[in-house]
Amino acid sequence: MNDHKPNMLAPALIGGAVAGVLSSIPFLNCLCCLWIIGGAVLASYLLAKDSPVSLTSGDGAIVGALAGISAAVVDSLVGIPLHGLNVAVIRRMMERLSEFADEMPSGWENWLDRTGGGFSIAMFLMGLFISAAVFAALGALGGIIGASLFGKKKAQGADIAP
């Protein structure tokens, strides 16, 4: 039984923090979902580095999903001080959407004005929930990739196709 593997929490937090910070910076988030997958790969690498036994793809999926959730939390928290800048980005998005949409929700400009001056707990939690779900899925995938790349130890067989 592989019960000597190190704790997954630290690698997940580190990988998630890196991914969350990089994906929340406006000029760097142009790499889309690749930051989250990259952070999960990093988490798998860190886990494999301290593990005396080979990692399974299941281990990678779990640590990657945890990294994705961590990234969502970090991304949301980092976004708080960047709220003003983010509102400007959202306004730009909504204005662009209004160019394409025949019908926009009534009063959307006022909604932006109302929320642009402050922080909304409800919006924060909703965004966090959605981000956590999406990032967890992407993170699991990245973790599996990381486990396949870095998780094998010498003198142990691998379930890798020749």
């Binding site: 979902c33 399974t56 662009r96 929700p105 973790g143 599996i144 379930d159 890798i160 196709a161 020749p162």
Partner: protein, 173 residues
């Protein structure tokens, strides 16, 4: 020590594959639903755009459009997600449902080269790829991802179910 319950193995892989097929279909359907619903359901459309905003910059100039409205993700992301679904459909023909195996590292590296080079070149300002090239690079990379996800989900299922974990040849309990 009990032998692996191989009779249940293919059924588990099949179930996971079906879930991944369904998930990929719904994910891709949402991408196209955002612009298609802007007339009938503007709130739903706006919600879908917002849901994908954490994972994509959604720049219209880098996105394909339907009826003049951009899809919920850019061309590169669209390629990844469509490629993922294509790879999922191909999975049974290449792997069957007997035993999930991870792709060789060389395959992943080869599949990652186009998107890696394209992304790096654009990010560093060396060139600006046309949207078709971004889509193609995403398609290639996305097509290998299901082979990782399905294997990983199978392993997670084994771990959580306390079932026998796939052992490597020669490894003893």
């Amino acid at each position: 020590m009990g032998a692996p319950d191989m009779k249940k193995g293919p059924n588990t892989v099949l179930m996971i594959w079906l879930l991944v097929v369904l998930g990929g279909f719904l994910w891709n359907a949402a991408l196209f639903a955002a612009p298609l619903l802007r007339h009938e359901e503007p709130f739903v459309s706006a919600f879908v755009y917002a849901a994908f905003s954490p994972v994509c910059h959604q720049l219209p100039e880098r996105s394909f459009s339907i009826h003049g409205s951009p899809l919920a993700v850019c061309g590169r992301c669209l390629g990844i997600y469509l490629g993922f679904s294509a790879g999922t459909i191909l999975y049974p023909f290449l792997r069957r449902f007997s035993r999930p195996l991870l792709p060789a590292t060389s395959i992943f590296v080869l599949a990652s080269l186009p998107i890696g080079l394209d992304t790096a070149g654009n990010f560093l300002g060396l060139w600006a790829s046309p949207i078709g090239l971004r889509l193609a690079a995403g398609l290639i990379w996305g097509s290998v991802l299901p082979f990782y996800l399905i294997t990983g989900l199978y392993e997670v299922r084994q771990l959580l179910g306390g079932k026998f974990r796939l052992k490597s040849p020669g490894e003893t309990k």
